[in-house]
Amino acid sequence: MAENTIKIPEFKAEWKEGEAGRWGMVIDTDLCTGCQACVAACAMENNIPFVGETDAAYGRSMHWLRVERFWEGEYPEVRTTDFQPVLCQQCGAAPCEPVCPVFASVHSQAEQINLQVYNRCVGTRYCANNCPYQVRVFNWRDWERPEPLNNQLNPDVTVRRRGIMEKCTFCIQRIHKAEDQAKAEGREVADGEVIPACAQVCPADAIVFGRLDDPESRVSQLAKSKRGVQLLEELGTQPRVTYLKGA
């Protein structure tokens, strides 16, 4: 790279077929109980605003993480599918990235995840429309957060304003914190040291997070499981989240 030339990202994320990626997550749907603790933890960690009943009914709620379930069969043999927490899949080839006209939705080369750069975002919502997983949420308003609720805001995470798109960041603030800590101590980040809020809280231990490029990590081991599937795999988005289905 030549000095002082700004490299404009191409309209195609830089990924190679079969590339492992850096950070990844495995969610065991056989263990998930649908308890929503991850949803609450995510909201508390990431300063996610609440929108109230009316806007929630319009589908404007700001969950970065939702727990899906679908009905199957007819009474009395009716079932729900396994509860399935769905968050940003941090695709290696993310459909949200090439459609952003202002490069607010970009791929982090360093962390190999999808970034949403709030200060670039102008709110076109193209990214959300192009996301096959429906995990991007838009700030339709400056959501009210009456005092003193603002005391709870996490200073490590930006408070977003109206007109900004946002989504799961894999708790990048925790990644940075752990990396910084490790660097200060002159060592590598250990497996299990970076834990996003959802994985940390999960009472069923259904969510595991770690380095996909480390074949020894717990998440890599689990991702190799025969039960492992990726959501909408056929789209070729190279998701970094693997679901363990079945028993």
């Binding site: 970009v106 982090s108 360093a110 962390e111 970034l115 709030y118 990048i172 603030q173 940075h176 200060a184």
Partner: protein, 184 residues
């Protein structure tokens, strides 16, 4: 309406009025712009130069810089720890304010000058660890009264340095030019 206005515009008093209005708007604009570029008054006219001249290290009052994101501001008690022993505290008018804060157990509402927007997450620690000294970014604080930024703290300024310092290390370069390193 238009007709009336035309007629009015012939009156000298009206012309003076319009002139006054235009002047008022522009001076207001200028003042507004000016105020955005000046820092509001600090609660105490703190002379950095004096403290540095006494040989006090930056990290004595801002110890966070070498181990965490925020350098931190000293607590009132920390200021008072030294100042209650110095004779100047009794005589200086400015220091009476400090005495009042300390005696009432109140915090001093400093106005941060080296300030970044909410969507930027700056961390002092790696910068110090990379061998930078405070004055590399903050200038000659020892010659300043109230601190002033020696340059505009914008992204171009950050990236210039990040580029220069990572010329020979492509891996580090990726990390230090990544959006996600500062924006999340």
């Amino acid at each position: 309406m238009l007709h009336k206005l035309l007629e009015l515009s012939k009156q000298p008093l009206f012309r003076v009025g319009v002139l006054v209005l235009v002047l008022a708007v522009f001076s207001g604009l200028g003042y507004g712009l000016y105020t955005t570029q000046t820092t509001p008054p600090q609660p105490i006219q703190f002379p950095h130069s004096r403290h540095v001249a006494l040989g006090i290290q930056c990290l004595y009052c801002h110890p966070g810089a070498w181990r965490q994101a925020s350098a931190g501001l000293p607590s009132t008690q920390k200021c008072w720890g030294c100042h209650q022993q110095t004779p100047l505290t009794q005589t200086s008018v400015e220091l009476q304010k400090l005495a009042a804060y300390a005696e009432n157990g109140m915090s001093i509402p400093w106005v941060p000058v080296a300030m970044l927007p909410d969507f930027v997450h700056f961390n002092h620690r790696p910068h110090i660890a990379a061998g930078l000294n405070c004055e590399n970014c903050h200038g000659e604080v020892g010659k300043m009264g109230i601190y002033e930024n020696p340059q505009v703290l914008n992204m171009g300024w950050c990236l210039t340095c990040h580029r220069e310092r990572t010329q020979d290390d492509p891996e580090k370069r990726i990390k230090l030019l990544d959006c996600g390193t500062c924006h999340y």
